[in-house]
Subunit: 168 residues, 2 copies
DNA sequence: TTGTATGCAAATAATTTGCACCAAA
DNA sequence: TTTGGTGCAAATTATTTGCATACAA
């Protein structure tokens, strides 16, 4: 799965993710540990969707400096979501995380062929969602939209493949 | 989780789910067994969202007539989706199934308080989705939208609750 | 000090799969 | 007959949790 780096620009924020998280921890009487510091840095070093497993794979191995146990990774990802640093959603059965802090609200186009995720923003969608909510007496908090299809690259390569097959 | 019975009406279909499934099975050289017949009937006896576990719980116990093993239930649910009888999506980590055959395309409002699912239809959404797809060079197949919020009942009861708390 | 956080390993939960046996077509 | 289907139990996968120890405040 891949995503263009910061394809939607960013949102003005006064604190770095690290500072923001520290603030969150202090406000709750939680502790700022090396593991948490390390994971904030790693997670915000690239604007990319990832799951717990990918994150664990990118960590130093047991014994090396910077190692964080899987259990702690899972626990910390939850903290990040609570703290508003990350968002998560389900994709093909996996829990996928993405940056929330400092990044605008958006939805996704998903290529079911190459599994590429493309972000997009639509104010019309937000309006539509609020209208639907109002119509049904809902107080709307948020929504999740995923559009499944085939990206232009895959449409092209599939066409090529088809032609080849047609020649047989 | 609950849902109004057939809240969106239905779509014209010439075959019953049972007949439609039989057609599907024949076209693929698969077999129409008692278990499959039994599950089609059970699944289409109520227009309600459900997961594998709920279905298994509603089956006769081991030894009783009509018993179907969990493994077969899981295998059969997949067949139903392949056959176009059911749709599935993720909700709170569970795989939720709903009727597809004979039922119009729709999306959901989800009350995060009482876990009620409400269906709604929006042509504007389909148009918006196609426009977004086109903008990004995607060939769109389908989409999945869930609007999270609080239904009117829960908004009311929460207000009541708040007042009670305020009195303390 | 005092209460959190972490690592490890065991426990869960939801499916999936291997296999021997059963049964549609 | 032949090939797909089913039940059962074991295997998977993704997490979560209990617990003893380590550490931030």
């Amino acid at each position: 799965m891949s995503i263009d780096q910061a394809s939607l620009g960013s949102v003005e924020v006064s604190l770095t993710p690290q500072q923001r998280f520290e603030e969150y921890l202090q406000s709750r009487g939680l502790r700022h540990t090396d593991q948490r510091r390390y994971l904030v840095d790693l997670v915000f070093s690239r604007h990319e969707h990832f799951d717990a497993d990918m994150l664990i794979d990118n960590l130093p191995r047991k014994g090396k400096p910077g190692y964080v146990s899987p259990a702690t990774v899972y626990r910390t990802l939850k903290e990040f979501v609570d703290a508003g640093l990350l968002n998560s959603f389900q994709l093909d059965g996996r829990t996928v995380f993405e940056h929330d802090y400092g990044y605008p609200q958006h939805d996704h186009l998903y290529c079911t062929q190459c599994r590429k995720l493309v972000e997009f923003q639509s104010d019309a969608l937000t309006e539509l969602r609020d209208a639907v909510g109002a119509e049904h007496g809902f107080r709307v908090f948020e929504h999740r939209l995923i559009i499944n299809g085939m990206c232009s690259d895959c449409v092209k390569s599939r066409r090529r493949t088809k032609r080849k097959q047609d020649l047989v």
